[in-house]
Symmetry: C2
């Protein structure tokens, strides 16, 4: 079995979908959590100066979605054909678009502007995306794509707690199908075990 070493900060965010997929597959992995100071010392040796990185048998790879697509295929959580794979990828990239808006709010330094951005997110951006995700889940047998469990379900579950913490609002629980979806994916035995044992972090 390959040796996996995941390197990120001590938060869930972009590393959590990878941690969850490795756990789902029953793979042990080294879960390295760097301080910003530690990261600044080794940043220049990283392929593109970004985290997370996953080392598989010493080969360092980057880009969380690319890593998850790879692991998802290995976990038999990819699509059954190219069209199904595309349906998965569309949700992944649309969720990334949504998170880009969250990120712009999260990194806003001015407290007044930040609160304004938060209100826009909660009143416009979240409803826009989440009504659509909610409908997709409803039309897909309780999953995000292709009417069955795929890696995008674990991908979005992994990122969901960070989104909730950043917005300081459980935006998932306001949407009936999405709320049920989140409980459904978090109740997969391996996910339940991981969520119970993972380090407690705010983000």
């Amino acid at each position: 079995m390959p040796v996996y070493k995941l390197t990120y900060f001590d938060v869930k965010a972009l590393a959590e979908p990878i941690r969850m997929l490795l756990t789902y597959m029953g793979h042990e992995f080294e879960d390295v959590r760097l301080s910003f100071e530690e990261w600044s010392k080794i940043k220049s040796s990283s392929p593109f100066g970004k985290l997370p990185t996953l080392e598989i048998d010493g080969k360092v790879i980057t880009q969380s979605a690319a890593i998850c697509r790879y692991l998802g295929r290995e976990a038999k959580l990819a699509g059954d054909n190219p069209m199904e794979d595309m349906n998965i990828d569309i949700i992944v990239d649309t969720f990334t678009d949504f998170r880009k808006d969250i990120s712009a709010f999260h990194h806003e330094a001015d407290p007044e502007k930040k609160e304004q951005k938060r209100q826009t997110l909660l009143k416009e951006t979240v409803p826009y995306y989440f009504e659509r995700f909610d409908r997709i889940v409803k039309e897909n047998n309780g999953y995000l794509a292709n009417g069955k469990l795929s890696w995008v379900d674990i991908y979005m579950l992994g990122l969901s707690d960070t989104v909730i913490a950043q917005l300081n609002d459980d935006v998932f629980e306001k949407y009936e199908n999405l709320s049920q979806w989140k409980n459904r994916i978090a109740s997969i035995p391996s996910m339940k075990t991981w969520i119970a044992k993972r380090p407690v972090t705010r983000l």
Copy 2:
């Protein structure tokens, strides 16, 4: 043969890799180019309010990278195994990170701040990414991944002219291997034909 309808604005940008891949595959497609006014009228009927969209036999799909990954597979320009696919995906998403920085500059309203951002891009961001892309091309037999032509080569070629126009600087030609790479991909007969016949747009 499926009927393809691509909808975007009258620029290259995110639609150009799709136009190029369809051309590479020898597929005829309807190349719809909307004004912003036309788009504002039909935006609400689009799956996530974003362009480009590609209709394949009436099914409307979104997200340019997801579309290109799908078409790339159909064009036999995907990897030969999951690891090769991941190598392609890493370059795609890293180039997206780079374009995010360009986009922040491009949409800056304040002319003074915009010029500052441009200088940071040209002096720091472009060299950081492009030295690495240049090395990757050198190590991959003149291509961006796996030592052979893949859809990421056409993907980046499609976006390159918009990057150059946004920066108002041919940043590709300053890097020996990247410059040769761009000429190599643009010289593929179908690409050459498309570039000669496509509508002339600044972006």
